[in-house]
């Protein structure tokens, strides 16, 4: 049985700067895996690599045992790899509902989209209220909910989330993580990049800790929470979020 996603010895660069120095990680079906690390450690780069926005220099990417590193992003979406990017990436000029419908581009089935829309609205009632509004008028937390809801419309096999807590008030962050837990319990596999290690390690089964484009540590979330090095480096500062 292959893991759902298997990244082996991947390197990637932005121009002359080597952003990933050979990382290997895997995500198994049904898991929530966290990708932790400081700003600039390579979390976003790793997710962009998996989503297909950045080609690997070396190494391989397997999804369900099949190589995907040559596929463009839109074909990875077709396989079910869906990214909620940093900064949320909503379409500000489109309405909330249109943003959500774009998530359904993967199957373009009106009936299924309508059913999924109701499900997303049940999960995020505020989006139901705001469905006819331009998405650019939403608050940051609402935009994050919209971005997650839109990704769910694609019925992802692997949901990639880049810093879902970034720039949001603590109460909103807690709400978003509760929803992420519910989404996982409904059967979605996730890989979450997060600076807030506290939150991520509570939700995740396993975690990888990135430092300077390399994997410094990995293991069960429980074990990492009790690891003295992790405590000192990543958990101690959890209250001083950006």
């Amino acid at each position: 049985m292959h893991p759902l996603l298997e990244v082996s010895h991947a390197t990637a660069s932005y121009g002359p700067i080597l952003a990933l120095r050979g990382i290997s990680l895997e995500v198994r079906e049904g898991e929530v895996v966290a990708l932790l690390g400081a700003n600039g450690a390579g979390k976003t780069t790793t997710l962009r690599l998996i989503a297909g926005m950045l080609p690997p220099l070396t190494g391989s990417l397997l999804f369900k045992g099949q190589p995907i590193h040559t596929l463009p992003p839109e074909q990875r979406v077709a396989l079910g790899i869906v990214l909620v990017p940093e900064g949320r990436g909503i379409f500000p000029e489109l309405t909330v509902k249109e943003n959500l419908l774009l998530g359904a581009w993967r199957h373009r089935d009106r009936r299924q989209a309508q059913r999924d829309l109701e499900e997303v609205f049940d999960r995020f009632p505020i989006l139901r209220e705001r469905q006819a509004q331009r998405a650019g008028t939403l608050s940051g937390g609402e935009q994050q909910m919209l971005a997650i809801g839109r990704a769910l419309m694609a019925r992802p096999r692997l949901l990639l989330l880049d810093e879902p807590s970034l720039g949001l008030a603590p109460l909103v962050v807690r709400h978003i993580f509760e929803i992420l837990r519910a989404i996982h319990e409904a059967g979605t596999t996730m890989l979450i990049a997060e600076q807030n290690a506290h939150l991520a390690l509570v939700l995740a089964h396993r975690a990888y800790i990135l430092q300077n484009g390399e994997i410094r540590l990995h293991g069960d979330a429980q074990a990492l929470r009790e690891n003295p090095e992790v405590k000192a480096l990543y958990l101690g500062r959890s209250s001083e979020r950006r």
Binding site: E74, L83, G89, F91, E93, L94, L102, W105, R150, A154
Partner: protein, 292 residues
């Protein structure tokens, strides 16, 4: 008949064609960030194709439809065959604009070679005595142009609003990278935008042809007026393109009627200059939101 109403009616009819040109220009500009200077010559080639098909005794509807589809195909060819390869080699938007300018000159020369520079008469698409519509007396041609402009603008609106491809096109105009992350094949959507845009230009060219004479430079005026309409509407707004076209048509007709016919075209130029100087975002335009 009240002359003002006549001028307005005639202006709306011409303005509908400017609006169609402007719609194509704006659609292409929003989707691919390219101001298409080849728009007039692509419309001209399509019109020559309609002319040739009519000469070959094709039935009128078939000849027109054939020429419009040919125009759409040409548009897709320009995007897929010229702009896409250039973009993949990291050409800047300015390079792409210059590319369309070069294309315009090539097409113009090619048309001179294929069809010659003599002036040809394009057959009338409708005939019959003028009709009385409310307070105005309008020719059937004027009515046809206005109807075509309005119906195609509504059809485009419906397409963008209610179809998957239309929604995808709007997403691509806002954030192509994010559209890709939704699974949208951005390259194919750009082909579609160019096909529709140049197809609309072909319609405008074919409708304008019976009113002017057909020769390789015949569509220059239509292109300039289309640009003026697009700029007036804000260059990024589709409703603005239509409103801009109709406004320009009516104003220039009033100027021609009350001031001097010769000032019609200079007026369109003056309008571009004035709008860009005073209100660069146009009547209905907004700056494009695009993530870099």
């Amino acid at each position: 008949m009240n002359p003002v109403i006549q001028y307005v009616a005639g202006g709306l009819s011409a303005g509908a064609l400017y609006g169609l040109m402007a719609l194509g220009l704006v659609l292409i500009y929003r989707a691919s960030e390219v101001v298409n200077f080849g728009h007039g010559d692509l419309a001209m080639i399509s019109t020559f194709v309609a002319y040739t098909l009519l000469q070959a005794r094709w039935p009128l509807p078939a000849a027109l439809l054939g020429a419009i589809l040919f125009g759409a195909f040409l548009g897709a060819l320009v995007e897929g065959g010229l702009l896409r390869p250039a973009r993949h080699r990291r050409a800047t938007p300015l390079t792409l604009v210059v590319l369309t300018l070069g294309l315009a000159l090539v097409l113009n020369g090619l048309a001179g070679f294929l069809w010659g520079h003599e002036i040809r008469t394009f057959p009338a698409l409708v005939s019959g005595p003028p009709l009385i519509v409310g307070p105005a007396r309008v020719t059937r041609e004027q009515l046809l142009n206005l109807a075509a402009g309005v119906l195609l603008a509504l059809a485009l609106y419906g397409f963008l609003r209610w179809t998957w491809s239309g929604l995808a096109l709007r997403a691509v105009t806002q954030n192509p990278d994010m559209a890709r992350l939704m699974g949208i094949p951005v390259d194919r959507i750009l082909l579609l935008a160019w096909a529709i845009g140049v197809g609309l230009g072909a319609v405008a060219g074919i409708l304008a042809a019976p009113l002017i004479y057909l020769e390789p430079n015949a569509m220059l005026e239509l292109l300039i007026k289309g640009f003026a309409a697009a700029v007036l509407g804000g260059m990024t707004s589709l409703p603005g393109a239509v409103v801009g076209g109709l406004t320009l048509g009516v104003l220039e007709n009033l100027i021609a009627g009350y001031v001097a016919t010769e000032l019609k075209t200079p007026f369109a130029f003056a309008m571009i200059v004035a709008v860009l100087a005073v209100r660069p975002a146009g009547l209905l335009g907004r700056p494009i939101h695009r993530r870099v």
